[in-house]
Homo-oligomer: 354 residues x 2
DNA sequence: TTGAAAGCGATACCAG
DNA sequence: CTGGTATCGCTTTCAA
């Protein structure tokens, strides 16, 4: 205490360790660990317990998660690569619910945006955290090789949420069947099929399909278009893709050349695009639904406010809590064979516009 | 393959360590570390480098993040406690951008939902990860004590994003001034003030303020109402809070008793609520804007589709990238005094409804 | 009932 | 140029 050859440790502002607690309580580090973890396999006198607790409190001791998991050889980390704006595919609040539920199950959720890393590089980055599970919600789907890498580094479950074919990365290229790789599918094709099915049912035969020009919704638009085409195939009806940006101008331009397209119906990706198009059509003097029937998707409340009321496709999907439970089960029973679950139903909601 | 007396250790599925790489390459662990980290302070022969790289590749070696940060004594973890659909307060895509930018700056983002933990308990949970920074975007605001706990456990910056007074947890109770606690403010009161200011400017004097009954938006509604009241104070105008749920029924009920309220204007929290109310008012025979002027907030594209076109308040806020840069700077210069930044401007956008 | 000590995996000294 | 080795903070046997 008299000489400090080193340049003076400035009060030692670093976090207190269990050793500090032990010193203050006058016990060993082992005892501290027993007390703070309520270890059942060992009996500690109440007096000691209190001393340890008081010391920890006084120092503001917080255990070091990295040290703990290093020692334990496993983590409770769940890596979730997901862009938040995937809200397009997922019901609003889905991710929040997933986070909350996983936290309730005592997992630590690490969310990754899907930018900047691709394929196996991303898998490597995730593997560094030694996650107990990986739940891929975005476009960054791991390759089979990536899945193996993750499994070898301790991941007990890899779950993929796909949008169903048509340019799908993971599911299409053979992740299924890889041990421990579960696939959840929210098949976007069903939405297009449902919408067009309804239009066909109404006797329409020349059907436009509005595709967002924005890149975000764009990835969902492809499978929806594929579904729309599938529904029309063999019925004698034809489908026409109609690129449109989410701007008044773009909608007006499309509406301006509407009559030259010779369509008697249109499915508009989702309700927001549908609302935009409906206004543009009305401004252009096109009668909805008489001249052109119009249907959206998503059952937005605001769609009901239009006149005519917007017909739509209602989407019932699993909640984030369900997915959390699924992940937990996969973690607890790593032997489960890879599964593929279908997790969305689409239902037409006829109102006035179609 | 004939007898498996033990339950069969299935090939030792545990992750390869740097020791495994060293063994395979015929070098020491130290050398492996030098090679894989491109350590500049030491010269390794190209032959050895290649051997090590090849061995790592062959084994699928991935470094163990926990071990590394334990050894290093610091992490690159940023904890982001962000709530359910904070999209209400934050511009859409804000969180995505923040994640992406932080990742570009080589941070690992851990997101927490704000449920289940309160106050210092939450701070403790965050501190276990020894984050280098904490960015609180939700309602879970740390107490000054929590901030100190985080700083002591190594956090070089704690950033709070507040909504501006009126029931605010953190900023109001003295976080400001705590060393290392920066406060970003997106003062929601300005929105209400701006909207009501515009209505006053139009000569209206009896102003309703629609407040969502939903708990999510509810927390933002309070400061917006406070701002609205502040703008009306001393002008001789009166304001009337109008609770309304985001449902057609609720809007219809409000519209039904509209004339008994004697209002000549209404500010409706945001554009979605405004659209809902406008339709209900029109259905009830109330003329907008003649009988009642109506303004929303957020400048939703869909609002422009209504007739009359919805007047609104445009919000210009910082992007997630800006916040990421701010966090990075705070991390790199921990000596910075606690700062309070104002990060949103509100601007009235008069259209036809007010 | 408590303490001493062996690691978990990676890194950075200091010898060789 | 490369190899031992101490170390980070914590858990968990094994002895005392």
């Amino acid at each position: 205490m008299s000489q400090q050859p080193p340049p003076e440790p400035p009060v030692n502002r670093s976090a207190p360790t269990s050793a500090d607690v032990a010193r203050l309580a006058g016990v060993s580090r082992a005892t501290v660990s027993y007390v703070l973890n309520n270890s059942a396999s060992v009996r500690i006198s109440d007096r000691t317990r209190h001393r340890v607790r008081a010391a920890a409190e006084e120092l503001g001791y917080v255990p070091h998660a990295a040290a703990r998991s290093l020692r334990a050889g496993r983590t409770r980390t769940v890596v979730v690569p997901a862009p938040r704006q995937s809200a397009g595919a997922l019901p609003s609040g889905f991710l929040d619910e997933l986070h909350a539920e996983l936290r309730l199950l005592d997992y630590t959720v690490v969310q990754y945006g899907s930018l900047g890393l691709d394929g196996d590089e991303a898998a490597r980055a995730w593997a560094e955290l030694r996650p107990v599970a990986v739940v891929c919600l975005g476009e960054a789907q791991p390759t089979p090789h990536g899945v193996m890498l993750l499994r070898r580094s301790g991941a007990r479950a890899v779950v993929t949420l796909g949008t169903g074919g048509a340019g799908e990365a993971g599911a299409a290229e053979g992740i299924e069947g890889v041990e421990g790789a579960h696939t959840l599918v929210m098949d976007q094709r069903r939405i297009g099929a449902c919408a067009v099915g309804h239009l066909l049912h109404r006797g329409r035969r020349a059907i436009g399909v509005v595709l967002p020009e924005e890149p975000g919704p764009g990835s969902l638009a492809r499978p929806r278009l594929a579904g729309a085409r599938g529904a029309a195939a063999g019925t004698g009806a034809r489908t026409v893709p109609l690129p449109m940006a989410y701007e008044e101008q773009s909608a007006a331009a499309l509406a301006g050349r509407w009559r030259s397209l010779g369509l008697d119906a249109v499915y508009a990706y989702d309700d927001a695009y549908a609302m935009l198009l409906m206004r543009a059509l009305q401004d252009a003097g096109v009668d909805v639904p008489r001249e052109t029937a119009l249907i959206g998707a998503g059952d937005l409340l605001l769609g009901r406010l239009l006149r005519p009321r917007l017909s739509t496709v209602r989407l019932d999907t699993m909640g984030g809590g369900t997915l959390a439970a699924l992940v937990d089960r996969a973690v607890r029973e790593p032997g489960l064979p890879p599964a593929r679950y279908e997790l969305m139903t689409a239902l037409p909601v006829p109102r006035e516009s179609a």
